[in-house]
Amino acid sequence: MSALTLTLKSHPAQRVDMSPLTCNKLKDLTLAEIAAITLQNGKAKIRVDELFAISGEDTQNLLIKNSFEKLDFIGKELDGGTMTVEGDVGAYCAIGMKTGAITVNGNAGIFAACEMKKGFLTINGNAGDFLGGALPGNKMGMKGGTVLVKGNAGERVGDHLRRGVILIEGNAGDYCGSRMTAGTIAVMGQVGNHLGYAMRRGTLLLWNQPKIPATFNDCGTHTLAFLPLLFASFKSLNSKFADSAAAFNRVQRFGGDMAEMGRGEVLIKI
């Protein structure tokens, strides 16, 4: 069976809520039924077949072509199956994802992997602000799964992160790891200011020396036994993180944020 392919016919002026189009929601639907689904487009409702050319039949392998930055909520609460997006995606990609895999061959907007529970999100371009974060007012961001960003990520990566792993091959913006409760964020490039702001627990793993905030204290250099296990778990990824040359177990450890409960850590490769 070939992948169910939705090819965007034109770029609508208003944003589109793509949340009805996930593998689990389309399961057992005929192409006619899928075509008749209505999507919120700004204030209007629009049928899927008005917006997309539909081909293929495998609903568990969904391909969205010609995507652009106004397609929001792609893969919302995805519960199994594989979604691939050619082009950019809007906000809230993979929000609340339960299981499955989403690959974005482009850039992602704000709040990608927001409150994601499990599964795997790959962003082959850049990610916007609040990657893996919590919705405003909520206390828990991403609770599990893995996010891989091949480009750069915006500000507030992992805001309120509760569990899971965020891997960024490029740079991360300001406030990386802000208000983290637990989990791991690894950044191969540079990070911005206010690293680990109000971080409670969790690990920020860095390849380059950041600006260490005044509320993080130096705990010295260490060889940490868990790092080889962590890097071994990246081996199967199609990423720089899988490269054994990128792995290390000697780090400079900073503990903080001492203005919060101070059980978080920034580990910097030495």
Partner: protein, 298 residues
């Protein structure tokens, strides 16, 4: 049945169901992994008084361990799941957590998980860190030499305990030499341990005692110094008897270990003073697993 002059008794060893687990201890080098493993499996020869039976299964190369350091696999057996969990946790806390450079990992998968480092984490006094890596939870506990890394749980499996055979020899040195040869071969078999000191026990027991408080006492039928005053199972030329007890993860594992062990004993033969191989059983009343010596060697 006679092999190389050694009489194989037409009898069977009687074994019983147990619960077991495997843990992997790693360290900076094999020396320290072994020291920790020896401590963890110490005083664990018999469930009668030790609470569990434990032993070193084998050493592991860095390629075989989760953290890429030299390691040792140990097996622990107990009569029930609760007892096993208690022994595992106590021993891990006192013998591995305390051992320099050590780390502790699960060595067996099972639907039934028992705590390995799950509760040891509290030693970290709030500074402990959890990491979920590849679906497995680990705990990083800060200790004075750095960090103690431990997997949260390991698996509990059904197992078999009490496989055994007796080596009856013309002299004590000959009995010990035969047992040493057997143990050397048996240690090459995976999934089994021989929990007694050096793998050999010289004080085989029978069920019951003339003293009411004791559940087991010396196996007088196989004590050579009592040949003339008890209902003996020994011929006049037997001067020493030693036993090898085997616990394994399955009946087949014990079968294999008994086979290679008895073959090693038989290879020495009557010329080396080995007269008979027998086994301990309780008339088939104690355990459902019966290891018939002649069938194993057939």
């Amino acid at each position: 049945m006679i092999i190389n002059g050694v009489v194989i008794d037409k009898t069977f060893a009687e074994a019983f169901p147990m619960k077991a687990t495997r843990a992997i201890i790693t360290a900076q080098n094999e020396k320290w992994a072994m020291i920790s493993a020896q401590a963890m499996t110490g005083f664990a020869t018999s469930v009668i008084a030790c609470g569990c039976e434990a032993g070193i299964e084998r050493t592991l190369t860095p390629e075989e361990t989760p953290d890429g350091r030299p390691g040792v696999a140990i097996l622990i057996f107990a009569m029930g799941g609760k007892g096993l969990a208690k022994q595992l946790e106590t021993r891990a806390g006192q013998c591995v957590l305390t051992s320099p450079t050590s780390a502790l990992f699960a060595g067996i998968d099972s639907d039934i998980a028992i705590p390995l480092g799950k509760n040891l984490r509290y030693f970290g006094d709030g500074f402990q860190i959890s990491k979920l890596i590849g679906g497995k939870r680990y705990w990083r506990v800060p200790v004075m030499d750095g960090e103690f890394l431990t997997e949260a749980t390991t698996g509990q499996v059904n197992a078999v305990g009490g496989g055994n055979f007796l080596v009856l020899a013309q002299s004590q040195p000959q009995a010990l030499a035969a047992c040493e040869a057997a143990i050397e071969e048996m240690r090459k078999i995976p999934n089994v341990i021989m929990p007694f000191p050096g793998g050999v026990v010289r004080s085989g027991s029978k069920v019951g005692s003339k003293y009411k408080s004791l559940g087991a006492s010396t196996n007088d039928a196989f004590c050579p110094t009592l040949k003339g005053i008890t209902k003996t199972d020994l011929s006049p030329d037997i001067e020493s008897v030693m036993e090898i007890v085997i616990d394994g993860l399955s009946k087949e594992d014990i079968d294999k270990a008994m086979r290679v062990g008895m073959q090693a004993v038989c290879a020495l033969g009557a010329d080396a003073g080995i007269k008979r191989i027998s086994a301990g059983n309780y008339g088939g009343k104690l355990g459902p697993f019966h290891f018939h010596l002649q069938e194993i060697l057939a």
